[in-house]
Amino acid sequence: MTNTAFRTETLTKVYQTGDVAVHALRGVDLTLPLGEMSVLLGASGSGKSTLLNILGGLDTATSGRVWFEDMELTAMGQADLTRYRRDHVGFVFQFYNLVPSLTARENVALVTEIARDPMKPADALARVGLEHRLDHFPAQLSGGEQQRVAIARAIAKRPEILLCDEPTGALDSQTGIRVLEALQHVNEEFGTTTVVITHNVSIRKIAHRVINLADGRIVSEHVNTHRLQPSEVTW
C-alpha cells in the first residue's frame, strides 16, 4: 500500500472539435497523497476539468498514464472504469446534477443501491445537515441544499476519492461555506482524498495542497502549512 492516491505521467488530452484540435492537457506529471484535500486552480480552459474527469474515470487520456493507488486507469476499458467509479469515486458537480424526478433521499439511494458498503441515505444527508429535507425534490431545495444533496450522494458510498468540480461555483458565499464545511468534514472524518476544482482563490486556504494549471500544464504546486477553517474564509 502506497501513500499515493493518484500519480500521472506526461498526461495529455486532445479534443478534436470539427477541424480544430484543442490541447486540454499537455503532459501533466502529478502526485496526490492519500487523504489530502487538494485544490486545482486555473483559468477557464487551463485543463483542470479535463484532469479531474480523467482522474475520475469519466474521460480517457490521449496519451500518458494515470494510476489510482496500484490501478492503472489508462489501461482500463469502459467496464473497468465503470467499476472503478462505482467502487472508489464520488463526484460533486457545479450544477449538482441531481435527478429532478427523485427526492433527496432517492437521489442518494441511486448510489447506495449499487455501492459495496454504503451508509444509509438518511445518514449521508444528515452529515451535510439535510436531515429535515429528506423527501424534498430538487426543485423544492435551494441551490446550496441541492449541492449538499450532491455531496451526500457522493459520500454515501464511503468513497476513497471525492472529486468536486466547482462545488461552490453557483452558490453565494454563505451557502458556499456550508458546502465547504461539509467537504472538509468528510475529508477529515473518512480520510477521503478530495480534489476540488475552483476559480475561487479563497478556497485554497482550506486545502492541504494547491495546484495551479495554465494552458494544460502545471505551473506551480504549493503545500499549505497553515490551513484555515471554511468559516474563516470569505469571497
Binding site: D59, T82, F95, L102, E106, I114, A115
Partner: protein, 787 residues
C-alpha cells in the same frame, strides 16, 4: 422499489403527455390490426358454425322438372353424402299497404318435416301443417320489414293464381345470409322474401307433383366437387338442368366471401401500414426523447452504473409507454372489432354471432408495437450511453451552423430572423428534419388512405345507376318469352321506354381456364341498360362476338380478338366458339355481354327474352305497380331507385363507418406526430427560447420561432403526404377487388383537401397546446442551469 425504478415511474409521470401521444400512435396501429382481423375471424367463424349447424350444402343445381326417383341416382354419385331435393319457385307478392310488388322465393318443405340439407333456424312460430295449402314460414328480414309475426297474411301469385298465405313462423336460412332478390343489386327485405311451404301445396301450385326442380348435395370430405358437379349435370341434363355449381358460385355465399375478402384486405393491408407508420413515428419520437436525457445518462454512468444498466433503465421507460399503447390498442381494437362484427351481423342475416379473439393476433400486434418502440430506443440509447460520461454530461458541442446556400448567394438577406433560424436548423440537421417531414407526410397519407373511399364509391354508384343501369325498373318473366312481350310491356301504364334482355348461365373457358358466369344479351344500341367503360362512356356492343369485363378476361386470360368457348348451361346446353370483340371495365360481377340477337342465335330458340328494362313516368307509378301485380307472366320486379337508396344506406353504414374509424385513428397518429415534434423541439431549444425571452422577445415572437421550423416542414410534408396517400389508396384498392365488384381508385381534390384540412387543424391544435408551454417557460430556471 429501487430508486432507478422509481425514476422510471416519475419520468413517466413527468412525460405523461408525450408518452401518451406516443402510446396513442402505437395504439392506433395495434387497434387496426386487432379490429380488422377480429371482425374478419368472427364473421368467418360465425358463418362456418351456421353452415355446420344447419347443414348448408356443397353443390347446388336447378332443373326444369325432374322426377323424384332421380334423387336416388344423384345420391349414388361417388362422393355424395346426402341429397336434398325440393321445389324452388319465384313469384310476385301482393302485400297489404305496399304498392310496389315484392318478389318471393318459395322453397318446398319435405313431407317429413325439416330439410336434410339447407335447413333453417326457426326463430318463432311453428312449422306449417304439411297438408295446408296456405301456411308458410317467412324469412326474418322480410317479416321484420313488414312487422309480420305468426298469423300475418299476404298474397302471392303462384303460377298465375293469386293465393292468400298465412305466416306460421319466422325463419333464417344459411343459404340466404345475403338475401338478394332477382335483378336487385342490394338486399331489400321489404321487396324480397324467402318462404318455406309444404311440398304438397307448392307442387300442386306449379304442377310438380312427384318431381323436383332444385337440388342440394352434400359432398364427402376429400371428394373433388368438380367431379360431383359434372355427374349432377349429366344426370339432370334430360330434365332441363341449368348447371350445377359449388359454394363459390352460390350467390349468398359469394357475397360473404367478397365481404370477407374485403375485410381481410382491410385487416391485412391497412393495419400493417398503420402499424408500420406508428412504429416509425414511435421510433423517431423515442429517439429524440432519449437524446434529451443525455445529461442524466452521463450522470448515471459517472455514478458508476454500467452502460447496460443505464440502457435497460431507459428501455423500461420506453417499454412502459409502449405497453400502455398496446393495451389501449387492444382495448380499442377489441371494442371496434366487436362493433364492426355487429354491424356486419345486422347486414348479413345470422341467427347468432361468434366473437373470436385470436390470441396470436393480439400477440403479433403487441410484438410489433413493442419492437417498434424498442428499436427506436436502442438506436437512441446506444448513441448516448456509448459517450464517455464526461462528454455525455456536458451538453453536446454547439452545433456548427452554416450560412444557407441562398444566404451565401446574397439572397434571403432580408429574410426575417425567425425564418433564417428555422432554415439553418433544418440544414444543420437534415436527417432529423427529413425524418420529421416523413413522419408528418405519413400521417397525412394515413388520412388520405382513410378518407378516399367515399369518392371511389360515389363514382361506382354514379357509373352503375346513372351510367349503366338507367332503367327505372326491371321486369323478370316467369319463363323465356317471345319478343312480342316487349310490345305488351310498352302498353303498361306510364311506361315510356322498353328494352328487352336475356341472361343465360354459361361456362366460359379458354384453354384450361374456365369461369362460371352469365351472358347478358342487350339490344345493340340500348339506352336504358348499357355497358360502360371506366371513363363512363357507353360502349356499343359488337354485332358479333361477346364483350366481357376485364376482371373476367384476366381470369380466363382472354384478350380482344381471342376465340373463347361458351358452354351454355341451360336449354340445349350447346357449346360455341365465340370471338371476344371487346373488353370493358365494369364495376359489378363477372359479366359477359352480347347483342341480344347474337345471344338468341347461339341459343337457337327463336327471338326470345327473359324480361324487360323499363323507364316509366313516376306519376303513373301506382297504376303500373297495380297492373304488374295482375300479370301472371311477371315473376319479379326490381326498382333501381330503391336499390340506389339501399346501396347508399349500406355504403354509409359499412364503408363510411369503417372510414370514420380509420380517419379517427389517422387523426390520433397525426396528433401524436405533430405534438411530439413540437414538444421535443421545445425541450431541445428551451434554453435558446428562454434566452430570447430574456432579451425582450415577446411570447408570440418566440412561438413563431419555434413553430416556424415546423411550419416549413409541414409545407414540404403536405405534398409528399398526398403522394404517399395516393400510394396507400392504391394498395387498399388492390385489396378491395373481388369478383362481385371493383372499386375504382379515385383520390380526388376533395379527399386531398379534407385530409390536409384535418392535418392542419390537428397541427394547429397541437401547436397551441405547446404554445401554452412557451408562455410558461421558466426563464430564470432555464438560464440558471448550465449550457
Amino acid at each position: 422499489m429501487s430508486a432507478l425504478d422509481r425514476k422510471v415511474l416519475r419520468d413517466l409521470a413527468r412525460l405523461w403527455a408525450q408518452g401518451l401521444a406516443i402510446a396513442m400512435v402505437l395504439a392506433a396501429g395495434v387497434a387496426t390490426l386487432v379490429l380488422g382481423i377480429g371482425a374478419q375471424n368472427s364473421l368467418s367463424e360465425t358463418r362456418a358454425a351456421y353452415y355446420e349447424r344447419y347443414r348448408f350444402a356443397d353443390v347446388f343445381a336447378g332443373a326444369k322438372r325432374a322426377p323424384e326417383e332421380v334423387a336416388d341416382r344423384l345420391a349414388a354419385i361417388p362422393g355424395v353424402a346426402a341429397v336434398h331435393t325440393r321445389i324452388k319457385e319465384v313469384a310476385l307478392l301482393d302485400i297489404p299497404d305496399q304498392s310496389e310488388p315484392a318478389t318471393g322465393v318459395f322453397l318446398s318443405l319435405p313431407v317429413t318435416g325439416r330439410p336434410r340439407l339447407n335447413d333453417f333456424y326457426l326463430l318463432s312460430g311453428r312449422l306449417p301443417d304439411p297438408d295446408s295449402r296456405h301456411e308458410v314460414l317467412a324469412n326474418e328480414t322480410f317479416a321484420k320489414e313488414h312487422g309480420f309475426q305468426a298469423g300475418a297474411t299476404f298474397a302471392a301469385i303462384l303460377n298465375g293464381k293469386k293465393r292468400d298465405l298465412v305466416i306460421t313462423g319466422v325463419m333464417m336460412l344459411p343459404e340466404y345470409i345475403y338475401a338478394l332478390g332477382p335483378g336487385d343489386l342490394v338486399p331489400d327485405g321489404r321487396r324480397f322474401g324467402v318462404f318455406a311451404m309444404p311440398y304438397k301445396a307448392l307442387a300442386g301450385a306449379f304442377d310438380l307433383d312427384g318431381a323436383f326442380n332444385d337440388v342440394a348435395v352434400d359432398v364427402l370430405r376429400g371428394t373433388t366437387e368438380a367431379a360431383v358437379i359434372d355427374a349432377v349435370d349429366e344426370i339432370l341434363a334430360p330434365y332441363g338442368g341449368v348447371g350445377a355449381y359449388d359454394r363459390e358460385d352460390h350467390q349468398s355465399n359469394a357475397f360473404i366471401d367478397a365481404e370477407l375478402v374485403q375485410l381481410r384486405s382491410m385487416s391485412f393491408v391497412i393495419p400493417p401500414i398503420f402499424l408500420a407508420i406508428a412504429a416509425f413515428l414511435v421510433n423517431i419520437t423515442i429517439a429524440r426523447l432519449i437524446a434529451l436525457e443525455r445529461e442524466q445518462i452521463g450522470l448515471m454512468k459517472a455514478i458508476g452504473y454500467s452502460t447496460w444498466a443505464v440502457g435497460f433503465h431507459y428501455m423500461k421507460l420506453v417499454m412502459l409507454i409502449a405497453l400502455v399503447g398496446v393495451v389501449i390498442g387492444w382495448g380499442a381494437g377489441w371494442w371496434l372489432g366487436r362493433g364492426l362484427t355487429r354491424l356486419y351481423g345486422d347486414f348479413f342475416n345470422f341467427p347468432f354471432l361468434i366473437f373470436t379473439m385470436r390470441p396470436d393476433i393480439y400477440m403479433i400486434a403487441a410484438g410489433a408495437g413493442l419492437a417498434a418502440a424498442v428499436v427506436g430506443a436502442v438506436n437512441a440509447i446506444s448513441g448516448v450511453v456509448r459517450l464517455p460520461p464526461a462528454v455525455a454530461m456536458s451538453p453536446p458541442a454547439p452545433p456548427r451552423y452554416r450560412k444557407l446556400f441562398t444566404e451565401r448567394l446574397g439572397l434571403l438577406k432580408r429574410a426575417p430572423m425567425a425564418l433564417t433560424m428555422a432554415l439553418r436548423n433544418i440544414t444543420r440537421w437534415p436527417i432529423r428534419a427529413s425524418l420529421t417531414t416523413l413522419g408528418l407526410a405519413l400521417s397525412i397519407a394515413t388520412l388520405v388512405g382513410a378518407m378516399f373511399a367515399e369518392a371511389s364509391v360515389d363514382l361506382m354508384l354514379e357509373a352503375t345507376f346513372f351510367g349503366a343501369e338507367r332503367q327505372d325498373a326491371t321486369l323478370t318473366f316467369t319463363e323465356i318469352t317471345p319478343i312480342r312481350a316487349v310490345e305488351a310491356a310498352r302498353q303498361l301504364p306510364g311506361v315510356l321506354r322498353v328494352e328487352p334482355f336475356r341472361t343465360v348461365p354459361i361456362r366460359l373457358s379458354k384453354g384450361h381456364l374456365s369461369e362460371r358466369t352469365s351472358l347478358s344479351g342487350k339490344p345493340l344500341n340500348g339506352d336504358l341498360s348499357r355497358v360502360i367503360d371506366f371513363d363512363l362512356n357507353p360502349i356499343s356492343l359488337p354485332d358479333q362476338g361477346i364483350a366481357m369485363s376485364d376482371m373476367l378476361a384476366d381470369l380466363i386470360d382472354a384478350r380482344r380478338g381471342d376465340l373463347v368457348t361458351v358452354e351454355i348451361l341451360a336449354g340445349r346446353r350447346e357449346t360455341h366458339e365465340v370471338r371476344v370483340t371487346a373488353i370493358v371495365q365494369d364495376f359489378f360481377g363477372l359479366s359477359a355481354y352480347a347483342n341480344i340477337a347474337t345471344l338468341n342465335t347461339l341459343l337457337r330458340d327463336g327471338n326470345a327474352v327473359d324480361g324487360v328494362h323499363i323507364a316509366f313516368d313516376a306519376n303513373d307509378r301506382e297504376d303500373l305497380f297495380a297492373r304488374v301485380k295482375e300479370i301472371p307472366a311477371i315473376a319479379a320486379i326490381a326498382l333501381q331507385g330503391r336499390s340506389l337508396k339501399l346501396f347508399r344506406d349500406i355504403v354509409e353504414r359499412n364503408i363510411l363507418t369503417m372510414m370514420w374509424v380509420y380517419t379517427l385513428l389517422a387523426v390520433v397518429i397525426a396528433f401524436g406526430v405533430v405534438y411530439n415534434s413540437v414538444r421535443i423541439q421545445l425541450s431541445e431549444r428551451a434554453r435558446e427560447l428562454a434566452s430570447l425571452r430574456v432579451l425582450g422577445f415577446t411570447r408570440a415572437e418566440v412561438s413563431f420561432i419555434l413553430l416556424g421550423e415546423l411550419t416549413l416542414l409541414c409545407l414540404v410534408a403536405i405534398p409528399l403526404g398526398w403522394v404517399l396517400g395516393f400510394g396507400m389508396a392504391w394498395i387498399v384498392i388492390q385489396g378491395l377487388q373481388s369478383e362481385l365488384y371493383r372499386v375504382p381508385l379515385i383520390v380526388n381534390r376533395d379527399t386531398y383537401g379534407y385530409a390536409t384540412a384535418v392535418f392542419v387543424t390537428v397541427a394547429v391544435v397541437s401547436a397551441l397546446v405547446v404554445r401554452n408551454r412557451i408562455d410558461h417557460l421558466d426563464l430564470i430556471a432555464v438560464l440558471k442551469t448550465r449550457d
